[in-house]
């Protein structure tokens, strides 16, 4: 990846990525960052960003300073990608993600990158939620999400991996949100407002959900999201 001498902020499928140039005084970088954030504060607010720092070596103090600037604009720092080992160590100390490969901007995110087969790392862990997700509530996790309870209309689930709902799924759901088209969504009653898997989007038919229905599993087949009844054999 080539680095210009300018700081850049890019939107990627996985949220915002701030590219910090390899050269230039750190103070100047901070100044640039602040100016850029202020001019577009409303756009970033409430979001989370990843930092792409290339070969630049940053101390945990440096990263914390950047984190504070971001916090000041209502943005949270969740990840630092770097080729520099000392920067990686510093980020780790602060409890930030350092998995560069999975979400680097512009890098292709082939399903193979995220295959659940035997890969370690936080992004492949599942979270387990035992309650009803109500309108306005959002659940985001880089791994799999399992819900025991209903997901009501207006609620949102975004998972890097698969989504399993032991209950009625009527909100918006995105499985494989990091670009993994091989993810699946399962629910006892699958009637989401909108269902996304990887880069695909489907809407439920605009009918009232039927009263009795078998559990279903949705997956991408031949470039289309297909929901099939779950019949145990």
């Amino acid at each position: 990846m080539s680095h210009a001498n300018e700081l850049s902020i890019k939107g990627t499928r996985n949220g915002l990525v701030i590219n910090i140039p390899d050269d230039g005084e750190f103070d100047y970088v901070l100044e640039q960052l602040e100016t850029r954030l202020k001019s577009t504060a409303a756009f970033f607010r409430g979001g989370r960003v990843a930092l792409q720092v290339g070969w630049r070596s940053l101390s945990s103090q440096d990263i914390a300073t950047i984190g504070e600037i971001l916090d000041g604009q209502g943005v949270s720092l969740w990840s630092v990608f770097s080729q520099s080992e000392s920067t990686q160590r510093a980020a780790k100390e602060l409890g930030l993600e350092i998995e560069a490969g999975a979400v680097a901007p512009g890098a292709s995110r082939r399903p193979a990158d995220l295959k659940p087969s035997g890969e370690k790392g936080k992004s492949e862990q599942a979270i387990f939620v035992q309650r009803t997700l109500r309108s306005g509530q959002k659940l985001e996790h880089p791994g799999h999400i399992i819900v025991i309870g209903d997901v009501n209309p207006g609620a949102e689930i975004v998972a890097g991996g698969n989504v399993v709902v032991w209950g009625k799924l009527r909100g918006t759901v995105h499985a494989g949100a990091l670009g993994n088209d091989s993810s699946v969504v399962c629910a006892l009653s699958l009637f989401p407002t909108q269902l996304r898997i990887g880069t695909h989007i489907a809407r439920s038919p605009e009918l009232r959900p039927p009263k009795t229905k078998s559990p279903e599993m949705a997956s991408v087949q031949n470039g289309e999201i297909i929901a099939e009844p779950w019949i145990s054999s």
Binding site: P153, G154, R170
Partner: protein
């Protein structure tokens, strides 16, 4: 005496929060309880109008909070029931004139003088709602059988849970049995299926409400009004009484049901 603080809220506007507060206030007072109603809809006050006390307002909630008067001076006694009081909202200010802490403090001062403090929440999920929610012991959520109202109620339930209030109760207002029968309106069962909370009242759509609201004479005074009866039943349930839900029937009730029975057999 330590009052139960009941906040009535909905998220969506126009579903009947203020009507519910006025009627529950009257119903509880008719049961011999000492009741205070607080209107927290600062800038858009209505409860005083619905209770017919508009022309008696001298001081309001904001005056109390800002120390312009004593609490006792701002409380307006109802013209018919001596045990029913109203603390009106200010009309010239906005929601930021009061904080959640102010509300808790006002309720603390009133707690020993009443059996119930009913708080009328404004629509929305912003500061006005947070003010109304802060002191609540019990939260009643009003919805109507419309998808949009139910969606907002769901959001409010989520926020109520997040504020660590105990389980809210649901009031379904303005239900029209004949429309439910035709499949043109969400039924009680449809709403419960989504919201999954306990229900404390089902209030039928009733023209009497509009007339009584305009007159400032809550329908709960009217023994013949179906909605009035439904509100009196909610008051009894708040008191812990086990009151069965009314069978709602449309005007041609008996005959139509007979026809249905014949068709079914």
């Amino acid at each position: 005496m330590s009052a139960k603080i009941v906040t009535i809220t909905s998220g969506k506007g126009g579903v009947g929060k203020t009507t519910t507060v006025a009627n529950l206030g009257v119903s509880l007072a008719l049961l011999g309880k000492r009741v205070a109603c607080i209107d927290t809809d600062i800038g858009l006050r209505n409860l005083d109008v619905v209770m017919g006390l508009e022309n008696r307002i001298v001081y309001d909630l904001v005056d109390v909070v800002e120390g312009h008067c004593r609490l006792r001076q701002a409380l307006i006694k109802d013209k018919r029931l001596s045990e029913l009081y109203l603390l009106p909202a200010a009309q010239t200010r906005d929601k930021t004139a009061v904080t959640p802490e102010d509300m808790i403090e006002v309720c603390r001062q009133m707690k020993n003088d009443f059996d119930y403090i009913l708080i009328d929440s404004p629509a929305g999920i912003e500061q006005g709602f947070r003010n109304a929610l802060a002191p609540a012991d019990i939260v009643l959520i009003v919805t109507t059988p419309e998808v949009s109202a139910v969606r907002d109620a769901d959001r409010i339930i989520g926020l109520t849970e997040a504020a660590e209030k105990s389980n809210p109760w649901l009031i379904i207002n303005r239900i029209r049995p004949e429309m439910v029968d035709r499949g043109d309106m969400l039924s009680t069962a449809d709403i419960i299926e989504i919201l999954a909370i306990d229900i404390i009242g089902i209030v039928p759509d009733d023209e009497v409400i509009i007339v009584s609201t305009n007159r400032g004479l809550p329908a709960a005074f009217d023994n013949k009004s179906a909605a009035g009866t439904a509100f009196r039943n909610i008051a009894r349930r708040l008191e812990g009484e086990d009151v069965p839900f009314m069978t709602l029937k449309d005007s041609g009730g008996f005959f139509k049901r007979l026809v249905k029975l014949v068709r079914q057999s």
